[in-house]
């Protein structure tokens, strides 16, 4: 796909001497990169390579990819769906690594005293989720498993914050969302997990890089991935500390964060064929649902050197 | 409230009006009998318009009070209609609608007749903005006259009119007043006009009533009548050569500073 736009900033800096090079990383507040950011180890590592790190915060995956598309950032992480849309739109990026599965934290929630006991009861109900998010895929899979067609529910597209209000107000009968929102809702809002992602979706993160940057600075990306791996190890072994660091950032109580940390493993997986196949399945589902207009091949945008690792 | 005709007596008791330390009216005492026609003359800026605005209830007295048939006036004087010095036609209403404005249940005919009276029947359906200065003034006059108020207040209604039209309008005002006998106050700079129409001519000077002249002439008044000319001369002299020494002094010193 199109690679005619340069990773503007970094390229500019390339020509003007090593010292000035900048790595722009897009992150979301509730992702693994925020851990790396708060540990501050990456900056130290890259300084020796003559790179400065600029962290750019995004509220949502699509917004992050928007920036990746025009070359405003070089590297970032999102959930599983945004890269599919971006590929459909022809954005110049590559997958460089996958995160660990986090299906335990993604769930279909219903109020504690709800009449909905099984997936089958979702028929005809109002279900809230963010359009084109991992939750969207999860609910499609869940309905598939229960033998309900997508037309038999009443979907309501809501971003997590709005969905929470609608859920608590009873405007929707069920809500599909991811951690730490799941944990927070479970613990604080009398919600019950109807089903989580187990057996339905692996719900991985993906690490993405600008096409040109990935080609030019293979070594830098290696360093970043390594740092992510290390920070993930720290996170996996320091749940309490992690919750304490994130709590003021996300303004979510430590209990919920602890719960979500405990049912999730941080880390990096190489882009194996299985993972790529999973991702392809998601893409095909979106084609079927007419969320993206044409079929795409995920393999095309996997960073070649890494895909076979 | 239907205005009552010809039975409104106005009494000003020690009325003063002060604008930012400038005493414009200074203890005016005056009784206007029911159905009387009064003309007010005086130098530019002496407080004639202010007096009319007080009578219409558009300003409040700073001292003293105005009694309408014995009751003190508070707020707008609903029984009065005032023709403003600056016309104040509504630019967004056609001429005829300006005349009709505020008329209750009155027939169309009345307002067309009023326009006819001021010779502007054929301009009824034009915008006021397209009229000449004198035409605007006549529309405002028609608007004031079409109401049948208890008190009619006219602030230089004929200032922008030529001699011929002016005579016609004077006759019109007198005629309508005779028919309805409302208490009327006319501010004018034309002493002849004052003598031709009014029962009494009042001169305001330094915020006070300096001169108060009853006109004892039969109506319709003939301008050629020798007594008419006498009245005019007397009043004009009083205005032009102010009797008070203090004023005389003031004027002389002021004039010294002028270039001519």
């Amino acid at each position: 796909s199109g690679s005619n736009t340069a990773g503007t900033t970094s390229e500019k800096h390339n020509t003007s001497g090593e010292k000035d090079q900048v790595l722009k990383i897009g992150y979301q507040k509730n992702g693994p990169l925020v851990i790396l950011k708060s540990l501050g180890t990456l900056e130290k590592r890259l300084k020796t390579e003559g790179f400065k790190v600029e962290w750019k915060e995004f509220t949502a995956g699509p917004a992050l990819l928007e920036a990746l598309n025009v070359g405003s950032i070089d590297f970032g992480r999102t959930g599983d769906s945004p890269p599919i849309f971006a590929q459909a739109a022809g954005a110049p990026f590559v997958y460089v690594a996958a995160g660990k599965t986090k299906f335990k934290g993604s769930a279909v929630l219903v109020p504690q005293n709800s009449q909905i006991k099984t997936l089958k009861d979702l028929k005809g109900k109002k279900i809230g989720f963010a359009k084109g998010s991992s939750s969207h895929y999860l609910i499609v899979k869940a309905l598939e498993k229960a033998g309900i067609s997508y037309d038999q529910i009443e979907p309501h597209f809501l971003q997590p914050g709005d969905g929470r209000v609608a859920f608590e107000k009873g405007n929707i009968d069920a809500w599909v969302v991811w951690d730490p929102f799941t944990a927070d809702t479970e613990l604080n809002s009398k919600a019950r997990v109807l089903v989580n992602g187990k057996g339905l979706s692996t719900d991985r993160d993906f690490f993405l890089a600008n096409n040109d940057f990935a080609k030019k600075h293979r070594d830098i990306i290696d360093i970043v991935l390594e740092e992510i791996r290390e920070s993930s190890e720290w996170a996996n072994s320091h749940h309490k500390e992690l919750a304490a660091t994130l709590s003021p950032l996300l303004k979510i109580d430590e209990k919920s964060l602890l719960l979500s940390a405990e049912r999730r493993e941080y880390g990096i997986d190489p882009l194996t064929d299985d993972i790529i196949k999973e991702q392809q399945e998601i893409a095909d589902t979106y084609v079927k649902l007419k969320i993206i207009p044409k079929k795409i091949t995920v393999k095309d945008v996997v960073d070649k050197g890494r895909g076979s690792e | 409230m239907e205005p009552k005709n010809g039975d409104t007596q106005i009494t000003l008791r020690n009325v003063s009006k002060i604008y930012n330390n400038r005493t414009v009216l200074d203890g005016i005492n005056l009784t206007i009998k029911s159905g009387e026609f009064i003309a007010i003359v005086g130098k530019s800026g002496c407080g004639k318009s202010t007096l009319l605005r007080l009578l219409a209830g558009l300003e409040t007295c700073d001292e003293g009070s105005i009694l309408i048939n014995g009751t003190p006036l508070k707020g707008i004087n609903n029984d009065a209609r005032i023709m403003f010095q600056d016309g104040r036609l509504l630019p967004w209403k056609k001429v005829i609608d300006n005349v009709r404005m505020g008329l209750k249940g009155s027939s169309q005919q009345d307002s067309y007749q009023a326009l006819e009276n001021v010779d502007l029947r054929d301009r009824a359906h034009e915008w006021p903005g397209k009229l000449s200065g004198g035409q605007k003034q006549r529309v405002a006059l028609a608007r004031a006259l079409v109401h049948k108020p208890g008190v009619l207040l006219l602030d230089e209604p004929l200032g922008a009119l030529d001699a011929l039209t002016r005579l016609d309008m004077q006759k019109l005002i007198e005629h309508i007043w005779k028919e309805n006998r409302y208490t009327s106050v006319l501010v004018t700079h034309d002493v002849e006009e004052a003598v031709a129409i009014a029962d009494r001519v009042i001169l305001i000077e330094n915020g006070r009533i300096a001169f108060n002249k009853e006109i004892n002439l039969p109506r319709p008044r003939q301008r050629t009548h020798p007594v008419f000319a006498e009245y005019v001369e007397e009043i004009l002299n009083r205005i032009l050569y102010q009797k008070s020494d203090k004023d005389m002094h003031l004027i002389v010193t002021k004039k010294k500073k002028r270039v001519f």
Binding site: V165, K169 | A56, W92, K93, M101, G102, R143, H147
Partner: protein, 255 residues
């Protein structure tokens, strides 16, 4: 302004010169490959997208649903804004009581209000219409209020002296005097009406051009985004033409 110039056919065309020129340049640059299609699609591509969306009837649905929301919201918000502006313009007490509160509410972005709107009105049509109404309310309020405040005091005085009170005073003098300003508010709010729809249609919407735009943004369909922008622009012009027609009719005396 006014009718004289509007009759000359050239005057009807000139205003479109700049949009048209821009369009041509844009197409030219795109055809020459100076603007990558992925980032900013060429006008013809946008046109293509429009045709495709029209074929399926999708575009018509989006527009008609948005139009419904827009009009209802406009009517509600416009009426409230007008009435508030009127009362605060006419009555000192009302002004003292309400003006500060309205000035405070005005600055609150709709995006920040969404959680509260969902809380109060749920996720259905009501909340969408509420947001449009809220957006429309302020410009109408503001210009009505200001228009009434700046009516020639001399004319109001004259009206009172001629026995006009309450409604007849309002209808004869205050309203016509404020009308030109009120119509400015009306014109402005017609634009705001379309603008707020996009926020409104982020609340669990399945259709509407705001939804179309935000959906396209999420899926990075630049051609649809640009199409939405073009649609908004055309709606803007349309609203403006309507507003000007009304102005032309009501403000004849001023021409």
């Amino acid at each position: 302004m006014g009718n004289r110039s509007r009759n000359r056919p050239i005057d009807l065309l000139i205003p479109w010169a700049i949009p048209f020129l821009l369009l041509i340049c844009w197409q030219l640059f795109a055809s020459l490959g100076a603007i990558p299609e992925r980032i900013l699609p060429a006008p013809l591509d946008v046109f293509q997208a429009a045709i495709e969306l029209s074929k399926t009837g999708e575009l018509k649905d989006h527009i008609s649903i948005s139009l419904g929301r827009a009009v209802i919201g406009f009517l509600i918000g416009g009426s409230i804004g007008f009435v508030l502006g009127l009362f605060n313009g006419v009555s000192k007490i009302s002004e003292l009581l309400f003006d500060t509160s309205i000035q405070m509410l005005r600055t609150i972005p709709h995006l920040a209000l969404i959680p509260l709107v969902i809380l109060w009105f749920g996720i259905d049509e009501t909340s969408k219409i509420f947001i449009v109404a809220l957006g429309v309310l302020f410009p109408v309020y503001f210009n009505t209020y200001h228009g009434i405040k700046s009516v020639d005091k001399g004319l109001i005085e004259m009206g009172k002296a001629y026995g006009l009170k309450g409604f007849s005073l309002f209808w004869t003098i205050i309203f016509p005097g404020a009308l030109s300003s009120i119509l400015v508010g009306f014109r402005f709010s017609l634009g705001v009406m379309w603008m707020t729809l996009i926020v409104a249609e982020t609340i669990s919407a399945h259709s509407g051009i705001g939804y179309m735009a935000m959906n396209a943004r999420e899926f990075m369909q630049m051609d649809v985004i640009v199409l939405a922008i073009v649609l908004y622009a055309l709606f803007g012009k349309l609203s403006d033409i309507i507003a000007r027609l009304i102005e032309g009719k009501w403000l004849q005396w001023n021409s």
